[in-house]
Symmetry: C2
Subunit: 339 residues, 2 copies
Amino acid sequence: MQHDNRSPFRRATASALALALAFLAAACASRPLPSWRDGPARAAILDFVARTTDAASADFVPPAERIAVFDNDGTLWAEQPAYFQLFFAVDRVKQLAPQHPEWTTQEPFRSVLAGDLKQALAGGEKAVLALVAASHTGLTTDAFDAAVKEWFATARHPTTGRPFAAMVYEPMRELLAHLRAHGYQTWIVSGGGIDFMRPWTEAVYGIPPQQVIGSSLATRLEARDGVPVLVKTAELGAIDDKDGKPIHIHRHIGRRPIAAFGNSDGDLRMLQWTAAGAGPRLCALVHHTDAEREWAYDRASHVGRLAEALDEGAARGWLVVDMARDWARVFAPADGTAR
Amino acid sequence: MQHDNRSPFRRATASALALALAFLAAACASRPLPSWRDGPARAAILDFVARTTDAASADFVPPAERIAVFDNDGTLWAEQPAYFQLFFAVDRVKQLAPQHPEWTTQEPFRSVLAGDLKQALAGGEKAVLALVAASHTGLTTDAFDAAVKEWFATARHPTTGRPFAAMVYEPMRELLAHLRAHGYQTWIVSGGGIDFMRPWTEAVYGIPPQQVIGSSLATRLEARDGVPVLVKTAELGAIDDKDGKPIHIHRHIGRRPIAAFGNSDGDLRMLQWTAAGAGPRLCALVHHTDAEREWAYDRASHVGRLAEALDEGAARGWLVVDMARDWARVFAPADGTAR
């Protein structure tokens, strides 16, 4: 044992200080939703979770019915200046270009290869579908999974330069974990590609592939060298947006969610579907109000337009999360690790 | 405290007997898969589960990848003399008949209402689709759910007179529970209707709706009195049979199963898909060999035909569960309660 030769007074002060620091650390560590500022949004969420999980509460919900659904683009991670899946498509087109000499003269490929994304997208939905078809079809599901994983590990966001895993909203990641810690199942219900999300949602959000719902291309079963493979075709499977969201929630979950988070008019039907069930409900919109730390947009935006859902949310008392006001920090640590 | 006036010898004997009985009871209670007879099938299953869940084993599989899929008709419950969903359709047609006077002259309805199911089905697939359309479409998903629940609680199997919940194979129910107790997720992948199964799979099999995959009619989102509802249309959604099984496993689970149980050629693709993954695999066929306690059928059967899958299973060493040999009892208790 080492001899402590400090004065009794200094020893006592040091002990008291250590004790105070320990208390403070414990208090900070145990404050739920640490990236959320005190305010109406954080309070409403904590209150809802407490009410629905307290067996003594009139609003108690059995664990099996604790289903919470989340849009992805603009709700769990950013979506500006374009849906991130588009950057994956563009990078794949660049990668595949040597095998497609015709692309040097064909739009939207010509513009993509010239680095002019704006011009490439001038062709509207047709151009986007052409890029998706060229970059997403013909692969086996296993090969596509590997391609997404590789891209996700190396690609960088075009304006922030951060890995895409670091474009995830830390407050939302905390919310997902908080819900799961209280017996909730967390699901993604996104207009994005189901096969594009699944390779990384478990590591980044803690959401396993079977709890991811999204848009898809139809797949076809083939035997290659006697081994069955699923091949992604050019035929549209599901479009998981607007009416598609409740339809696919029914298809995949078969149970009405009691909590739903979205950020755009594409999420309105999902929020209405969630709200229409009996019992306690939490319907929420993430409102992009923070031009400094993220982006500020709603009614006039091309990506993530939020107008009808904002009006209906106001009329029906849905929770509106004001990013500038409610979030103490926006993004996950730059290394993108889940905590 | 009561005085024990028996002789010391009798007291000791009684104690020893009580102890022996307690040991025996504990041994019986803890023997896993109690309705399975000792033999190669039970041994192979227990060995697979032990190997894949022992962290020290070379065959260890992390919990997230422990996905086991099960066909339903003929694998988890009986399917003779016809898929049970057909009896639901028939009962609904009878119930709806007063609103459809035209059915008294229209096949297959005329024969159904006359109680002649055989004649009704003489029209083949077209007749079945007509019965499904008449009995399954136009309802909201909520109304359909309620109709199935009511039917399931009251209907009786046409030849055994038992509730349909008591037509479930007790050994398979034990297997589902054994797998879950070892960190497996159990899924149904059935040619039967997804909306027909979900109302009762949780109570009967312990499988929640989000882990049920099946065939479906497309649904349409409508507003009725300002409330969103999903309406079952006459348009086919998914056909979860043959190639459809791997396709929908990918759609719903997004991860390859490591264990698969089926009983017919409709399950062959699912078994091949499961077998084609790397690492330990358990592919199994339930073989209906017991004409006394259940039904005996395979190659020549109209319902649940098993020929190609049996041949391929033999060639590839898949487990074949021989119902007559391997199961000490076949059906769940007559009250249909999950134990």
